[in-house]
Amino acid sequence: MTTTLPDAGEAAGAHHEVVSGDLLRFATAGSVDDGKSTLIGRLLFDSKSIFADQLESVEQVSRDRGNDYADLSLLTDGLRAEREQGITIDVAYRYFATPKRKFIIADTPGHIQYTRNMVTGASTADVALILVDARKGVVEQSRRHTFLATLLGVPHVVVCVNKMDLVDYDEQVFEKIRAEFTEFASRLRVPDLTFIPVSALAGDNVVTRSENMPWFDGSPLLSHLERLHVASDRNLVDVRFPVQYVIRPQQNDTRDYRGYAGTVASGVMKPGDRVLALPAGLETTIASIDTADGPVEEAYPPMSVTVRLADEIDISRGDMICRPNNAPTVTQDVDAQICWMDESAALVQGKKYAIKHTTRWARAMVKNINYRVDVNTLHRDEEATEIRLNEIARIRLRVTQPLFVDSYQANRQTGAFILVDEATNKTVAAGMIGGAAHQY
């Protein structure tokens, strides 16, 4: 994919400084053909996040290859093997900032054989950016990307109908795609779905409003991403504090200190709150919430803090602090959807794996493969006996010790786990606990 660029001097203007804004993570999925690299290049370029020497390097390589234009995909295709093959084979992280926000882009390849990478990129994303070629309309790949975004609980989906310049900026083309996409998405749980007609190549509705599409009354992509309200996506209701590490200084002046360090998974914690420690099942009160900068009045996700309790309870890594009247499910039987990520071995019934859930490791056996989901048609294959690389399935696990779980839909932290092959130590699956993200 190529695009015309102004010269380096114009591109490399003042970079924006962000100290007070918040952080928005978004995942993009798509193939080279639908203009994803160009769109990302355009966002970085128009928001002045490309440095002069990076642009010079891209222009030099493009000239050496005999291209007429600077190839912006060179900015994101990092590894030599990928550049030589001209494909993106892994999740690449890109960063840019505006005065309102810092953005982290997880840029993932769109082909079906890279479902693993899309799942990885979507796992932490607030927003999924899905590209649709205006000339081609909704294709199998658009459905797959949307399904994976909802499977991973991404709260916002933005559909960029790209290459509007090639369909004469026709409103009817956009409306037809919007209607078809909306119909498809109604079978999925997409909390927030937005459509934007763009031309990444020409810059229409990416950073600046397009004069070619006066009929569109929404925001350009960047303004939309800047304004998107993500604070309410976080679960601030259910207090879940997985204990990560116990801090017990061995120095004389702090010998009596005993604090439970961790990252707040969800909920808001305050000193004086009654809490329940699992699996001990004992209640106590939060004495203080400490940080290196001193105690804080409250802690919320994703703060890393150290909690001290009023009573001495035997708590260690992997335990969970919650509220007495609002506790996760304590269970050794886990129903989950998984994405299989290992190319060398398939998941089969009866096999045992290591499982990591929050900060707790255990072992798990596959009791049952309920069905495999076709990621393109959402068809369920209940006859499936093994699950291979990039396949999605619903399975049941029996775990050697209790886990403290919520459904993934209610809690992306305490509803998630990974499976690890005990022989190779490779991470082989991503798991999402509870009900299916799609209906039929």
């Binding site: 992280y93 990885t120 590490y245 801090i247 702090t254 994703p302 890393s304 990591k356 932290q413």
Partner: protein, 300 residues
Amino acid sequence: MKSHVLSQLRSLEAESIHIMREVVAEMQRPCLLFSGGKDSIVMLHLAVKAFAPARVPFPIMHVDTGLNFQTVLDCRDRWVDRTGVQLVIASVQEGIDRGLVQEEPNGSRNRIQTPVLLEAAEKHGFDALFGGGRRDEEKARAKERVFSFRDDFGQWDPKNQRPEIWNLYNGRVHQGESIRVFPLSNWTELDIWSYIEAENIDLPDLYLAKEREVVERSGMLYEVNDFTPLKDGESAQVLSTRYRTVGDANLTACVESAAVTLRDVVEEVAAVRLTERGATRGDDKVSEAAMEDRKKEGYF
């Protein structure tokens, strides 16, 4: 009602602290690679915060090329005194004397640091090494994992990396294998500087501008000193300069700058036009794939 939204700098800080605690909880013997540069200092600062009020529960290792700026060594020693952290020094000069590595013709000790680092890590039994690498630094790093798996030769295989989903990191290794951990993966250069200013972090004074006697070579400015003396036919000039990165004293160039305070630096970085490596590191200009090669060998 409070908004309960963490600023982006505090989000990055929280993520880094989470990563460091995860490593200490799960790995047998972690160690922090400390170059004395701003990124490794920010890492050490974060480690102090992650385990307070206890001391940092792992040593730091300085791979000493023998080509250090004195002010960097002074700063390192201040940090060791202040935090009580254990310092391990792996000497490249000693490696040369023992015949482990050979001096390179161009005087760069960057490449020959690697065997010295790997040997020291093996000798001490370190199974997790914290590095200050950031994904925004260079293209070879954009796809790096936070937990980067290394085989028993300490080498990085881009095809053999583990998927990282959510914040569920997998540090399980067999005997002899190890992981490099990059707690600053998601920070940019501007984030680092904004944080240094916000936390008032002690750095070597090289990072701030002052009048320096410099000589220009291939478009780069080198301070005239024992490491980079004037050559025949060259002439020096006095300019207000500062360093954007701190590497070997014989190879690290400075840039013209009027940034005499941390605030000035933040503003300068916010307006800057060249990536920091492109501007000041002669050793990275060798080829576009230079970083990728060094990475595969186990340098970072």
